[in-house]
Each structure stands twice: as C-alpha cells, then as structure tokens.
Amino acid sequence: MAKQKILIIDDDADIIEAMRMPLEAHSYDVITANCGKDGLKKAREEIPDLIILDVMMETDTEGFHVAYELRSEEPVSLYKECKTIPILMITAVSKKKGMKFSPEKDEAFLPVDEFIEKPIQPKDLLKKVAELLAGKG
C-alpha cells in the first residue's frame, strides 16, 4: 500500500517540524507549505489524503479562507478534486476555556472536519489523523 500523503499548511516551521516527526515515524508522507497561497497550490498539484491547516497565519483568518477555497461549491473551482480531502484545523485555544470551535456546532459555516489545539500533543495528532483517514477510506 502506498504511503498516505499529508499536507501541512502552517507558517510556523517549528510547529510543522513538531508534527512532521511523529507523522513520518508512523509512515505518513508529509509535504508542507508555509502560507495559504502555497498551500492551495500544493493541494491542487499533489492531491493529498489529508490537509492539516493552521487557522492563523499572516492574518487571523487566513486558514478559514484556505478551507473555504478548498470546499468551494463553484462549478469552475480550481480545487474541485480537493473537495473531499479531510481537513484538520489547528487552533490556539486554551484548554481551560474549552473548545472555541467544534465541528458539530460550527460545521455549517466552517468547512473542516476536526480540530486540534496548539501545543500539539503527538498522541492526539496521530489519533485524529488516523480517524480522519479511516473515515475517508
């Protein structure tokens, strides 16, 4: 079986690195992009099996825009083939405060499948990645 390909879109190289290590150790193929624009380009070219996307990059909402582009309903969308790729969104919400976003509650306006909080816990990351990929398969 071919390695499953994961695209990480994040402007923080260290966060990418922190995720890349456990993912590669579990035989995923990791490709990265350091901004929304580059991320969209790579998504179209590589058609990954999963996209991990940071909410805040250049702007506080860049991640949202990337997600909207990928899930666009436009018939002429450049990202038609990416529409079904699961998206795992990275947020920076405090644990105590609770989840600010939840897929059940915000599904209607946020086209992502799951959330993960920073700082990244490798176990949590691997569990969510496996679940999303299994769901897709």
Binding site: M19, M21, S94, K97, G98, P122, K123
Partner: protein, 456 residues
C-alpha cells in the same frame, strides 16, 4: 449660591460650550423670572386685601394696570429666555424694567412716603448676584435717580401726589427736610447693600471658579490615566499574544522529542525534557490567562456577539468540560438546576470563561473525594450562580485580596503549587463588563461559596 446638582447637569446638556459663569447666570435669570411671577401675584393680592379688607384708599386701577404690565413683561421674558444672545444685557433690561415698575408702584402708594421704597433693596441684591460689580453700582445709581426724579416731580407738583390718608394723615412729601432725610437713607442703604452683596458674591464666584478648575483638572487627569491604562492593557495583550506562538512551538517540539520521535533519548535527558515541558506548560497557562484577563479589560462588547444563553446549559457544558479533572480527584459535581430554563444576555465565551474558572478553582481547592455543589437562583432583578466546595477555605484577610491580579493566598499556594493567580481577576473583570457582581463566603478550612450575579 446653592445649586442643585440636577439642574446643573441639565443645564450642562442644554447649553454646551458655555462657561460655568454663564451657566450660573442663565440659571439665576430663570429663578429671577420665577421670583417676578410671585412678586406680581403678591402685589395683586396685597393691594386687593389692603383695599377691601383694610379699607385703605388706593388708586386700585393704576396699581392693577402696573401689575398687569409686570405680568405681560414677565411673560415675554419667559418666552424670550431661550433665544437670548447676551444674558448680561437681558439681566440689565429686566432689572431696569423692574425699577421702573417699582417707581410706578411707589408713586401710586404715596411716593416718597410709600413703604414700597424698601423693596428697591431686593433688586440691589439681585443685580449684585446677576451682574458685574460695576454694573451693579450703575443699576443702583439708576434706581436712586428714579427715586430722586419721582420725589422731585411730586415735590414741585409736576405730577400729582397720592396721599394714603389711612397711613399718613399729614403729607410729608413736600417737606424738604423729610425729603433730604429719606433720600440720604436711600442712598446710604442702597450703596452699602450693593457693596456687601457684590463682595460676598465675588468671593463665592471666585471660590466656585476654583472648584470648577479643580474639577476640570481632576477629570482630565482621570481621563489621561484611563487612556494610559488602556494603552498598557493593549500593549500587554500584544506582547502576550506574541509569546503564545513560540511557546506553543517549543511545547510541541518538546513533546515530540519526549515521545521519542527524534530518536531514542536517555532517561536522564527525558526527565529534563519533562521538566522543561512542565515549565513551558505553566507559561502557556499564564499567557492564556493574561490574554483572557486583558481582553476582558480592553474588549468592548459588540452587540452581535451577545446571545441569549440558557444558563443551565452553560453550567452543564462547563461541568462536562471539567469532569475528567474532577474524576481524577474523585470529586462529585452536583448541579441543582431550575425547572425552567433561564436565559441571560451574554457573550457565550465570556460565560464559559466565568464558569470554567470558578468550577476549575473549586476542583483545584477541594478535598479529595468531596463534592461540589452548583446552584442557580433567580430573583426579579438578578440571576445568581452559586458554586460551593468543601476544601481549604479562604482566610478573612485573603478574602479581601483574592480578586487582585496575581494574588494567591498562602494556603492555596501550599495546597496547589501551580496557579497564575489570575483566574478570579478574569472573572471579576468579566462580571464588571456585564454590570454583574461576584462575592464569596468562606472561612479558613471550611466551605467556600462563590456567588456570581447577572442583572436581568
């Protein structure tokens, strides 16, 4: 002069851009006009009473006509009041008109013999209050001239003298010595009154100006302080926000190393990494708390963010969120919810923050295997949530300080090493935002109950 705080405030909003002296003048003028209604009414009733009850013969018709003129004049003053450009001229005009009316009244009630002459003193005092010192003396001189002219006209029989026989059986207006004596008393008493009244008034005015200047400078200092505080909070927000990303990155990297994704590491190194992780974890908690605290301070509530929230649901959600933490200490959380759902208007995240902070505290400082009770109480004006725990309690001295930023009671530090000392400040700030309140009931080593009340 005494000023009612309410009317002062009213004037402030009605006449923006006016100096306090002008505002005071406007206020006094409107009082002066009210005073004239009473005066005119008083003259009318007195003259009728004197004529019909005491049977003193007076030129009733002329006096009533004069009174009517005063009433008409006052009516104009009332309606013209709001369109006046120069209040000082308006005051001058009114006082002069009053002198004239008084001279006529004096003439119809016995000229220089009339007791009405005494009433001139009132207007000397009024002009001292309303006008500048110089204008007050000018007005007083004008009044004295009017009295002089009246007495001369009557003395030389240019106009007829009205003799009130019931009061003064023998006329005195044509006796030069009497005339000189009365005029002398008028001149001295008027000028002395003018002098006393203006000096008292000047002193009051000076003091008032000082108070106004003081008030202005205090207000300015307060505004400046507030702006500075805001600036400081905004700066703190930016800085802490900047700290969050690198801290998250460090923590994430450490976690990956610790779990062996960067290759096998010796146990000693692993222990050190665990320590580092713990410290960064605490730093992240501090940064998150600081962000919550500061955003509660600088954040203004946007109407769109406020939602009707069922507090029973919010409490249940927060309990759910912290259930695991409670279980680890074998703590039971009981919620006595109301039958009916109760809604408050609040930003959902703010309410979550308030509840999770308080419940988290309750768990943190509870004894092992104890229970936490949460209740909601609704009254006509407030919705109160009570969170009680049986734990370490709060000492009397600490109760006063626990809402201070970074303050942690000694027994709390001893019991639970970790803590930023910001949780309760965050809650208090948010409660202020909603004009609510937070209070606490506790004793050292006993039950602790926090009450948060939202107005409805």
């Amino acid at each position: 002069m005494p000023q009612n705080a309410n009317s002062h405030a009213k004037h402030y909003t009605h006449t923006p851009g006016k100096t306090s002296l002008e505002k005071e003048l406007i206020e006094s003028l409107s009082r002066f006009i009210t005073f004239r209604w009473i005066m005119a009414g008083g003259i009318g009733t007195t003259v009728l009473f004197v004529t019909f009850a005491l049977s003193i013969t007076l030129p009733l018709q002329s006096i009533l006509i004069t009174t009517l003129c005063i009433l008409i004049f006052n009516f104009f003053c009332t309606s013209y009041q709001k369109h006046v450009k120069s209040y000082e001229t308006f005051a001058n005009l009114q006082i002069s008109a009053d002198w004239l009316a008084l001279v006529f009244l004096a003439h119809y009630t016995g000229g220089i013999e009339s007791p009405v002459i005494c009433y001139f003193i009132f207007h000397v005092i009024i002009s001292a209050i309303l006008l500048s010192k110089k204008k007050c003396y000018l007005q007083t001189t004008f009044a004295l001239l009017l009295i002089l002219i009246l007495s001369m006209l009557e003395y030389f029989h240019i106009i007829p003298h009205v003799q009130v026989k019931e009061l003064f059986p023998t006329p005195s207006y044509d006796k030069s010595l009497y005339l000189v004596a009365v005029l002398f008393f008028c001149v001295t008493s008027f000028y002395i009154s003018a002098y006393l009244a203006t000096s008292v008034n000047n002193r009051l005015r000076k003091r008032e100006n000082e108070v106004v200047a003081l008030k202005d400078s205090v207000t300015e200092a307060y505004n400046r302080l507030e702006a500075l505080d805001r600036e400081k909070s905004e700066f703190t927000f930016k800085v802490t926000h900047e700290l969050r990303s690198p801290l998250s990155a460090i923590q994430s990297l450490l976690k990956s190393i610790e779990e062996g994704y960067a290759g096998e590491i010796p146990q000693k190194a692993r222990n050190l990494i665990l320590r580092s992780e713990k410290r960064t974890g605490l730093l992240i908690a501090l940064v998150n708390d600081l962000l919550d605290l500061v955003s509660g301070k600088i954040g203004t509530i946007r109407e769109g963010e406020i939602k009707h929230i069922n507090i029973n649901e919010a409490i249940n959600n927060s309990i759910q969120l912290l259930q695991e933490k409670a279980k680890a200490k074998e703590i039971k959380i009981a919620f006595e919810s109301m039958q009916k759902p109760v809604f408050i208007r609040v930003i959902p995240e703010d309410l979550d923050l308030i509840l999770t902070n308080l419940i988290d505290n309750a768990i943190k400082y509870s004894k092992k295997a104890s229970s936490i009770l949460i209740r909601s109480v609704v009254t006509e004006k407030t919705v109160t949530m009570e969170i009680s725990d049986i734990g370490i309690g709060i000492g009397e001295e600490d109760i006063k300080r626990i809402f201070e930023e970074f303050y942690r009671a000694d027994n709390a530090k001893e019991f639970e090493l970790e803590g930023t000392g910001l949780g309760l400040s965050i809650v208090k700030n948010l409660m202020n935002r909603y004009k609510g309140s937070i209070t606490v009931q506790s004793k050292l080593g006993e039950k602790t109950t926090f009450f948060v009340s939202f107005p409805v």
